[in-house]
């Protein structure tokens, strides 16, 4: 059970949070994007074993989204970043 350091609220238990997936850059304008490119955006993720960047939301708390650097094998959380915070 993760102890997730919310960048706004501090460390909180996993059940307060919602996992939001690996961030993906939205290609625009839509009409000019190929089917392949759009499918990649919708469905392709690194699914990294080890160091992984992912979005979480403190849904049961402040309601804020943030970026998490987590190891998908050990579940060590390296750090969490507010949106826009320099990586």
């Amino acid at each position: 059970m993760l102890l997730m350091p919310c960048p706004w609220c501090g460390p909180r238990d996993e059940p307060e949070f919602q996992f939001g997936g690996e961030p993906a850059t939205r290609p625009i304008p839509a009409a000019e994007v190929s089917d392949q490119r759009w499918a990649d955006y919708l469905y392709l993720r690194t699914n990294e074993k080890g160091f992984h960047r992912e979005l979480w939301c403190h849904a049961g708390g402040c309601g804020q989204w943030f970026l998490v650097e987590r190891d998908t094998v050990t579940h060590v959380i390296h750090r969490t970043l507010k949106p826009g915070e320099p990586a």
Partner: protein, 975 residues
Amino acid sequence: MKRLPTGGRIDRAAPRAFTWDGKALGGFKGDTLASALLANGIRIIGRSFKYHRPRGLYGAWSEEPNAIVDLAWKGEHDPNARSTLVDLQAGMAASGLNAWPSVAHDVYGLIDRFHRFIPAGFYYKTFKSPRWETFEGRIRQMAGLGTLRRSDDRRRYETRHAETDVLVVGAGPAGLAAARAAHAAGLRVILADDRAAWGGSLLWREGVIDDRAAADWVADTIAGLDGATLLPRTTVFGAYDHNAFGLLERRPSAADGWATERVWQVRARHVVLATGAIERPLVFPGNDRPGVMSAAAVLQYLREYGVLAGNRVVLVTNNDSAYETAHALIAAGARITIADARPELGAIARRAADHGIQVRANTVPVNTGGRHGLRWVDVAPRDNLAARERIPADVVAISGGWSPAVHLHSQAGGKLRWDAAEAAFLPEAARPGQHLAGAITGGTSLAEALEAGHHAGTVVASTFGRASAVLPPRAEPAAAPSPIAPLWFVPVPDQRQWIDFQNDVTLKDVALAARENYASVEHLKRYTTLGMANDQGKTSNVNGLAALAAFTGREIPEVGTTTFRPPFVPVSLGALAGMRHGRLYAPIRHLPSHADHLGNGAEMREYGGWLRPACYLRVGETVPQAIQREAASARQAAGLLDGSSLGKIEVQGADAAAFLNLLYYNELATLKPGRLRYCLLLRETGVVYDDGVVARLAPDRFLLSPSSSHTAGVLAMLRAWHQTEYPAMQVAFHDITAAWATYAISGPNARAILGRLATSIDISDAALPHMAIADGSIGGVPGRIARVSFTGERSYELSVPASHGAALWRHLLDLGARDGITLFGIEALSVLRAEKGFILIGTDTDGMTLPVDLGVTAPLRNKKVDFVGKRSLLTPDATRPDRRQFVGLLPADPRFVPAVGSHAIETADGKRRSIGWITTSCRSPALGRSIALGMIEAGRARIGETVELFHLGQTSRATITAPCHLDPAGERLHD
């Protein structure tokens, strides 16, 4: 076997009567069921799983593999109670299980005669013809342990959450010293131990600490831990990520009943694992006979419960630890012979010999005998097994060394290493935030355990920048023990030697697995079922893999060990679920006028997490009749519906319009203040997620009304898009659903009824046309009226603060009485909207439905911004001409209502193919016939065609129409 007149922590003044297999027996307060059975001379307590061999007590605590019983007490029941873990209570009725007629005389014991034909995994090699099920029923009846009674379980289960600086697991000398040091440094400490009394091994081992008897030191130490959370009778059963732990506390009930089980979830900054070690059995021929017991357990029964397990004891060991048992037994009056497998007598053995105990070096057991319990044991020199000598014995106390209780360490991802000198798997290194002390790190003396515990406590304290204010506890340093000499099994070929007692895994089974190349330890475990019984291999794992190593010519570390999985001891499912059952499993929301609905005869059902009226039953009416009546009245006169559960999300900010225009499928930038628009909300995959009316209250203020079940989801979606994709936009969201009560009046008389309502809002058609909204006061409270219709009739939605809801509801009923106002529920609403061909999200749509399937195509053609899901509407699949499309259907037989879920089919070459399905159907009171809605392949192009419908083998016919069955021009909205 007998109870001694003195000794132990039992209360001889408090007798406890209980029954065993119907026979009345007696024990004392402080006994476990196991110790009481032993004191009463009950030898056979269980039967093994496969061969139905008679089994007695091996251990004294959670390692016990054999003595699982059926336990009934005070109207409750435990089908698989481990007798060593049951606090004896007066009136308990225990009995043997998985045997007939009793464990003492079990006719299934005959199976054992055929053991050579049913080796490990025999079932993989046979029972194939004609099919497994031919045999399965019988085999299932034979398998299983206890019998579950089908009554309700009325016991209470509780849940607790806690956070602490340090969790100390185990209150033996190491754990106590750690807790003491951490506590003295001012840390928040939780100390958990699975025993009812504090002290761990000090409960049955002698020692002197800080110049006091160990028991006194334990009592003083516990007394000194004021403010710490002390959890006796608490097993830490699981270690999870980031130092989270699961604890099972058994709280004695005040009212003399079953203990209340409470599961704790503890988040610890640090954990000290002082979990000790578990004694391993020796593997030798006949080692499963009742009377063969763990040497430590024999000592525990003696010291803790005053029970002498046997009068004539042969103690067999390969290490020093068992000698304490020998001395204690002698002192209690037993006769003792010691067989030490080690080639020469070490210091401790020589001391025993000096005391007059018969000690034989280089001696191992080679057989045991006795029906219904042990009578004799044959021993022989280790290097000349043929030179057997028979020694009479009623107990053989065995010690094959100690396996550190590394379970929690391993569960937390800790690695293990094989230590050849200790002949044990030890933790390789502590995990972050984890500290190890005492026997979990290998054989330690009392002095070493105390020191390691104290050290762990001070290390934890130092990470908080604190120092411990107490001196380390001291005990006399012990002389170095003579090393253990592993004896993994005794190489006599013909006889069975047990490794896993409960599952009947013998040495031969391991040999067979090795021979057949089930050579990975996990294959061994699965093929033979080694370590898979109730004790989860606590006593059998290491012996099993040592044997596998021997049979495959490898070293033990090469073979490796299996993964330790939670829970450490079996935990009742009820305790793990805790309070989460019944209503609390998933709470249901109630409407502000709930009581009124009940008073009005509502049949309440759950819709999207809310309890809402399905219909209002009048005397003598059936539910379908009520639905038809309500729907008809709403069309003919007026209906009143409680719509309070409909979502209400306020969206505000300078960029609210621009933001919503990016989110919603429909154009919102052009929506004028005071006006409403029906909109779809898509997922990025183009699928319709929700629909609802969006109101623009002011240029920078919108009110969304998502479906009841999607309100939370829509809010989450808005937030996610705002924060992750459009963070620069000035917009904020508020879920105000619960703050408002909303009622809809619908029907030709709606206008007249509202005309009598005291409101500041101008409800004239000019001021409040269809799809408009206005604020004002309603009956003296601030409110809002929206002109919007889900029924196709002229409709008004009135909203007031939730606390005024019930009053308004009653008031509207009064106002409408003379115009025939009728309450209608969700089911009639569904009929009304079906007549109009309006979709219901999740009923007419599913996870594949695109807006184009619903015929809503204008935004895709006209809207310029990159709204959510737009690009997904342009893929080859989204633009396929044969997509399923939303249509109406008129059954050929107007009295026949085709079931929702019926498929429309095409038949080609004698093969049926589904071309879609019915999503809604009902009898329409307005049309006096059956109608339906559905999704049909290329449905819009098929309007006018007849299709075949299929439902559970029956077929019928229907004509495809446009979705709207009534008033397609929408004239009734303005009537």
